[in-house]
């Protein structure tokens, strides 16, 4: 095998030398020849096609559904390392919930001078409609998809918190199914942490937050509709939980309660897992021109007659300028040091930091504070001088709107490109559920940049995905080569 390492690789310490956690897998993999591997990859792709596991691409009238490329080789994480990550994620989500409650109520953290008031006042995700409100169980971010990356030095950093409507969990679950079918022989005998309980956990999380006065709560998933890029995921989660998938037009608010329109009249809805942005939830409260939402929904919510997951206003903690303060936020509420590190972040709203950013654009990544999905990002080292100059203008005209971070060199995982294994850069999005308790799905979504040298993992820009294995570190039973010779 000709596999040239470049930076930190998740599977190999050096060429031909797997990490201890990957040794078993590597031995099994070595028994499969290239042609067989290729055949299995093709079988997996055909499966995806037949199962119609697709995402929608905006701006195309025809053929809008695309199959998201899947790579057969899993990304493996040692379970000892994972348990630290899991602790770190729980700590983070716990602290962020306390932070959001505080921000919309007493604002102690601001009064104590830990987070500047100015930052809150100018955050576009701040929802003054939520002032004085605390959701059931004090939970704002029921479902989060925290983006993690590993840098060259081997340490794991939190890149973004994604507290609003993170997607991707359906691919994690489908990828696992796909792997079991296409690659059964490598699964046999290894102990991969199971992820299949996620839908059950999600349903529990939603029901945990149901209004107190209901005996048997009815939960639904609210989707913007079939043209949304994550529509497949919405249907998948509704189906896996056995709840209705509704659109705004299926719901109606009467006398402060939310109902869905059924073939037998109106039926009460208690919990809404909404996959619609705050702005579109309720034309009576947020954007008047929204036709995706439900008129009067926020009134029902404030009356406590329906629960919304995630809670409106949660995005305040997802602002990239607020992100920079998360270590202090954890310290403030929990009196603990952050287990997971932030990527060093320069706030352009701070005059000194802004000066540094402007003079180091060629080595920094600049991000708008309130965008997601990779929109509006400047990759300094790869950008042209004109592009960098344009950002100087953008930053100076609205410094609050930008942050900058050093360019990380993401770790790589062996990926099947044509007929050989080649290193490709990856990130990781674990999913965290927060109801009465916090649950972290083992592993998460590994996105991989399929183009050589690329660090862009987004599905719209040449990204694919992989199964993610959290592996028990003890060695399994020795392999019998005979079992794999057919």
């Amino acid at each position: 095998m000709n596999y040239c390492l470049a930076g930190y690789d998740e599977m190999f310490v050096a060429e031909g030398e797997p990490r201890p956690s990957c040794k078993d897998f590597f031995e099994r993999l070595s028994l499969i020849d290239d042609a067989e591997l290729r055949a299995r990859q093709q079988a997996a792709e055909l499966n995806l096609h037949n199962m119609g596991i697709t995402f929608n691409v905006y701006g195309h009238a025809d053929g809008t559904e695309k199959v998201w490329p899947f790579d057969l080789l899993p990304r493996i994480i040692d379970d000892r390392e994972w348990s630290r990550v899991e602790q770190g994620l729980k700590q983070r989500i716990h602290a962020l919930n306390l932070f959001i409650s505080d921000v919309y109520n007493d604002q102690k953290i601001i009064k104590d001078g830990v987070v500047p008031a100015e930052l809150m006042r100018t955050a576009s995700a701040y929802r003054r409609q939520m002032e004085g409100f605390t959701p059931p169980e004090g939970v704002w971010c029921h479902v989060s998809g925290v983006d993690l990356v590993r840098d060259e030095d081997g340490s794991i950093y939190v890149l973004e918190d994604n507290l609003r409507c993170p997607s991707g969990v359906s691919y994690v679950l489908e990828n696992r199914e796909l792997m079991k079918r296409a690659f059964a022989q490598v699964f046999d005998g290894v102990s991969v942490a199971p992820i299949e309980e996620y839908p059950e956990q999600l349903l529990q999380t939603l029901l945990d937050c149901a209004p107190a006065n209901t005996d048997s709560a009815t939960a639904v998933v609210l989707t913007p509709g079939i043209y949304n890029s994550a529509y497949f995921e919405h249907t998948f989660l509704a189906q896996q939980m056995g709840v209705e998938l509704v659109q705004g037009s299926d719901l109606v608010v009467e006398s402060g309660f939310v109902y869905m329109k059924t073939t037998h009249g109106l039926k009460r809805v208690d919990v809404i897992y909404r996959r619609i942005d705050d702005d579109f939830l309720d034309p009576a409260c947020f954007r008047e021109d929204s036709c995706l939402g439900v008129k009067g929904l926020m009134e029902a919510y404030r009356l406590g007659n329906v629960a919304l997951a995630n809670a409106p206003g949660t995005g305040i903690a997802d602002d990239k300028a607020v992100y920079a303060y998360v270590p202090q936020i954890i310290k403030y509420y929990l009196n603990e040091e952050a287990i997971l590190d932030n990527v060093p972040t320069y706030l352009c709203s701070d005059e000194k930091q802004c000066e540094y950013v402007l003079s180091h654009l060629h080595e920094l990544v600049v991000k708008p504070t309130n965008e997601s999905g990779g929109y509006g990002i400047l990759m300094g080292p790869q950008a042209t001088q004109e592009e960098r100059d344009a950002y100087v203008g953008l930053i100076c005209s609205n410094p609050r709107n930008y942050i900058a971070q050093p360019m990380l060199r993401l770790s790589t995982v062996p990926t099947l490109i044509d007929d050989s294994l080649q290193p490709r850069h990856v990130d990781l999005r674990p999913f965290v559920l927060c109801g009465k308790e916090i649950y972290v799905m083992p592993g998460g979504l590994t996105r991989v940049a399929l183009n050589e040298g690329s660090m862009v993992v987004n599905s719209s820009q040449g990204g694919g995905s992989k199964d993610t294995w959290v592996l028990k570190h003890h060695r399994g039973a020795p392999l019998d080569p005979c079992c794999h010779s057919n």
Partner: protein, 329 residues
């Protein structure tokens, strides 16, 4: 269940059934025209009449040649009742309710769609459309089997079954109408060899030949019509379709036999009962074409009433992006 979901389940099933029936029509007509002289070999126009799209056809095609008719009925996306259009609509409806149908159903519909699309890209072998028609029928039957075996037979399933049966009743009535007209241009033709071939073909298009033989033996025009319209046990007869559609309706509304709780149930019960107490002689006396014409009108009334009773939202507007994919029969 959600009204919108009921609507989509119903139309998903109708479109799959419609695609299957178009494949049946083509298949049988093709067999019939093989080895025949010019008179029959050129008879492709009636197929367009069966689907009721004569106007649209004339708009886009010069003449009813075999090539033109086949293209129009299989892959022409301008024809909303072509197999390709039907299966695209069916899949689009299924995609909207993927959480309601089972994963295996979705996969089958998706594979069905991919199959038809692939054939459309490759172009139909005009000399041998049978393989394609067989594949379409098989895909439709596979879906039916998967649905019955994997989906709970609750309300969504009954809406699915009602959609399928309403569509089937309509298509069987159309094929009887058109073929009866063609087969009996004058009383003199009855009893010729050609006649038996064509009546067998009519039965075969409904996969009814063997079942008919068991029931009635020799082929006579009146018995064939009797079988396809009034048979109690044959799953493609108009009466059977209405019997089972009424079963599903009662499961949905919770009404008991002989009563009704909404207009669609009233109309459906009335039409079904009439079929129960009608003989083929009554139909012949009235005139086959007149009888079937009236039947189709009433079937459409039932369809409209189903919409009003179950699918129309009590309030609020339906916009184009959320409404199920449909067009009238």
């Amino acid at each position: 269940m959600l009204s919108r979901v009921a609507d989509s389940v119903y139309w998903m099933a109708r479109y799959v059934e419609r695609a299957e029936n178009v494949a049946r029509f083509i298949d049988v007509n093709h067999n019939l025209t093989l080895g025949e002289g010019t008179t029959i070999a050129e008879q492709w126009a009636p197929l367009v009449s069966i689907t009721g799209d004569d106007e649209l056809f004339v708009e886009h095609y010069q003449d009813a040649s075999r090539e033109n008719v086949l293209q129009f009925l299989t892959f022409d996306q301008r024809n909303p009742n072509s197999i390709l259009s039907c299966i695209s609509f069916a899949r689009e409806n299924a995609r909207r309710i993927r959480e309601t149908i089972t994963a295996l159903m979705w996969q089958q519909i998706n594979e069905f769609y991919l199959l038809v699309n692939r054939a459309a890209r490759q172009g139909l072998s005009l000399a041998e459309p049978n393989d394609f028609c067989d594949a379409v029928k098989r895909a439709s039957h596979t879906l039916l089997g998967i649905t019955d075996a994997t989906m709970s037979h609750g309300e969504p399933w009954h809406f699915k079954r009602m959609g399928r049966l309403m569509e089937r009743a309509d298509k069987t009535s159309r094929i009887v109408d058109v073929q009866y007209f063609l087969l009996l241009p004058s009383a003199d033709d009855v009893g010729t060899t050609l006649d038996v071939v064509r009546w067998s073909a009519l039965l075969r298009s409904a996969s009814a030949l063997a079942m008919y033989r068991r029931e009635h033996g020799r082929i006579t025009p009146n018995q064939v019509a009797n079988f396809l319209i009034l048979d109690r046990h044959f799953p493609r007869s108009m009466r059977f379709c209405l019997m089972k559609a009424q079963d599903s309706m009662m499961q949905i509304t919770g009404s008991h036999g002989g009563t009704f709780s909404c207009r669609s149930e009233q109309h459906l019960g009335r039409l079904r009962t009439e079929l129960d107490y009608t003989s083929i002689d009554d139909i012949i006396r009235q005139g086959m074409h007149e009888y079937i014409d009236a039947f189709q009108t009433r079937l459409n009334e039932i369809g409209n009433a189903i919409h009003e009773d179950f699918f129309t939202l009590p309030q609020g507007s339906t916009d184009a992006t959320t409404a199920p994919v449909q067009q009238e029969a």
